[in-house]
């Protein structure tokens, strides 16, 4: 019992759970690390940000978070627009535009993360 829409929606759910976990980790490190004493120094300081950017695990995490957030957000926005009784042709155009925008934003963000990681580790 699989349709194109059910697959898109399933990924929307999976992306939501992924955001909850990855954003949770991000928020914990940024804002609660000091409180629980799990992060040394000021997590928001420039040096700490650079320190994290050298870590491959963080780079992967941020690329994943970017992908999940973009997919989840754009699918949600597409859903809201679809509920406005727009014609079927417009629905198709919006889907294509959102796919293009999502891929472009993902490539841009992922390039930034990987470039910073590569520069720091000398790749």
């Amino acid at each position: 019992m699989r349709t194109r829409e059910s697959t898109l929606w399933t990924w929307h759910l999976i992306a939501g759970v992924l955001i909850l976990v990855l954003l949770g980790i991000h928020m914990f490190i940024m804002h609660l690390g000091d409180f629980f004493g799990t992060v040394e120094g000021d997590a928001l300081a420039f040096s700490s940000v650079m320190e994290r950017s050298r870590d491959a695990a963080f780079a992967v995490m941020y690329v994943l978070l970017l992908g999940a957030a973009l997919y989840h957000g754009l699918y949600g926005l597409r859903t809201i627009i679809f509920e406005l009784n727009i014609p079927e042709g417009a629905e198709r155009v919006i889907t294509v535009l959102f796919v293009l925008a999502g891929v472009a934003l993902f490539l841009m963000g992922a390039y930034g993360t990987i470039a910073v990681y590569g520069a720091r580790v000398g790749v």
Partner: protein, 286 residues
Amino acid sequence: MIEPAGPKQGEKTDEIVKNVKFKVLRFDRDTTPSPRVDSFEVPVKKGTTVLDALHYIKENLDASLSWRFSCRMGVCGSCGMFINGFPRLACNTQVLELKADVIDLKPLPNFDTIKDLVPDLAVLFEKHRSVRPFTLRKDMAEVDKPSGEFFQSTEEMERYLQFTYCIKCGLCMAACPTVATDAKYLGPQSLTQAHRYNVDTRDEGRTERKDVALGPHGAFRCHFAGACSEACPKGVDPAFAIQLMKRDAFKGSLGLLRKRKASEVAPKLTSGKRMEGVPDAPERTV
């Protein structure tokens, strides 16, 4: 415990308890383009339903008032209307239970109106038909000319039983906030019926229903407001059916939904003795 407003056994019911003002939205799409509100004063007794009050108005105050009704007992689903801001069956709503001196009557929202309190339910039936709400099997010859009954256990039947109580009154569709914004959304009624047949072990039509029920304006557009379940006069829980359908779709998308073969014709009893006094089954009529 909630005390029902209806008359108790042996209680006198012909005493007028109070006069209630009915403010009825009047409209005729063929002759009056703009709606107006007419007020009627109706004497109400214990047990008087909104449908009774409408009959009183038609017989005594304004014969031109229109609404739809048939069974007068919450079975046919014809008299759905917007009563004091909530979709209800007029025959199932006792005036005194509303605890109001003024009662607003409007046609069901989310539907076009034909005249006064008569909604155009064509769209409901179109959507209902689109999900193919009947048993679909590969062996349709057996369905057309049955040699026996398809086997189904009580547990299997209970998976869909409550959803069969739908009377197609349209109250769930009128209550649904998603139907209000997305006219293409299938809505709680048809989705519930799609689920009802999808989980019926005698049915094999899940694949044939999926393109509509799980399409861009299918089950995934449900916001789970739960208004449909609150409005249903028969105790059906459409919001629950839609969530179950979403769960099956989720499993199906990940390839985790078990394939099911439709149940076979139950073997005929070869032994056993009929209890005394149980008559023969009547002759088959179909």
